[in-house]
Symmetry: C2
Subunit: 185 residues, 2 copies
DNA sequence: TAGTAATATATCACTCTGTTATATTATGTG
DNA sequence: CACATAATATAACAGAGTGATATATTACTA
């Protein structure tokens, strides 16, 4: 998607494409160094007026070919790691006020991500890549919106859980070891 | 969610809860050993008739308390790693037939996951946890369905991309180094 | 003058993934 | 009947990635 420094790649993966793939500096910088060693990218140091110098990397033709080769696979399922859903799975063990607060914050996060994607229309995407980028950004919007709407419509399932089950956090802690149907054999 | 062996935990994370959190054996077995050292779980070896022996782990009360403590945070955004979306982002570089095949396979994968979640209604979830589990499974369904529908309705954006841009894989490879608006300066 | 923040690169301990190894039982298959 | 494959079950390890920390420059602000 054009030449970039490691820092710029990180910013891109934190912004509009955060729902695709994330990577840390500890992955990006060593990867760029390795790609340069292998002749798949070139590196050019560029000094800037109002900022620290940066190293701008560009794909070579061999790098471009390698990229295409790597993409000629049928990808498996997406790998997801959601601390939010893990927490929701144990909502019945947690103080209802905490669950409600987490839900509120989650709706905020999803709303903010959606706004960010909406403002990305007409973003600086290189020629010939518009519809690919449009597909990916649209995918992000669709999935984020579905998550937002689902939480809004079904939050009662977890916010009322502890009350319905009669088991607040303190109740749980007051129970004896291995309370329900979990025999030691 | 009840006592389990490492193998059973892995199966659970591959099945109905694969959209929440994944983990490999290399994460699970060392984690169980560590939790046992710390007194947060107990371990009981159980011999089976028609299968190899297994080690069944159970939370202690201290483990239960620790779990609740760990969940008293406000979780950040979900971490996603989608090889599929990375591929889609570069659809314009790939042979259209390959992109079409990947789309077909993806719709199959999403359809299969949805069916699996649909059949999970009335699953073996411990008492008091039903609505938490229902929320999480419903979330998975909603997001998976949104992804499936979006791909079905917008696949033309990536399947026609190479044709519209006039750039098949061979065209790209025939171009000179740094073809478009990517000056070395 | 000091503190915070953004930009920018680099390194490293620790964690996790993906793979391989090992063992048991069941299920084909030629 | 031997042989391969597959499912169940645990373990270990090389290599990759995360999260944290270090370092440096410039800008803002108290």
């Amino acid at each position: 998607m054009g030449d970039a420094s490691g820092y710029e790649i990180k910013k891109l993966l934190e912004g509009p494409f955060s729902h695709i793939h994330e990577a840390s500096f500890g992955a990006i910088y060593p990867a760029l160094a390795r790609l340069q060693d292998e002749g798949l990218v070139t590196c050019e140091e560029r000094s800037q007026e109002k900022r620290p110098d940066k190293k701008v990397y560009a794909l070579t033709q061999r790098g471009r070919f390698d990229l295409i080769k790597e993409l000629t696979i049928v990808p498996g399922p997406d790998r997801v790691r959601s601390d939010f859903l893990v927490l929701m799975l144990y909502a019945h063990l947690l103080p209802p006020a905490h669950v409600a607060n987490v839900i509120e914050k989650r709706l905020d996060i999803l709303g903010a991500l959606l706004t960010e994607l909406e403002n990305e229309n007409g973003a600086p995407v290189p020629a010939g890549e518009e519809s690919s980028a449009e597909f990916v950004l649209g995918y992000g919007k669709a999935v984020l919106k579905a998550a937002h709407d689902y939480i809004k419509d079904n939050r009662h399932l977890v916010e009322g859980a502890a009350l319905v089950a009669g088991g607040t956090r303190d109740d749980i802690l007051a129970k004896e070891e291995r309370p329900a149907g979990v025999a030691a054999e």
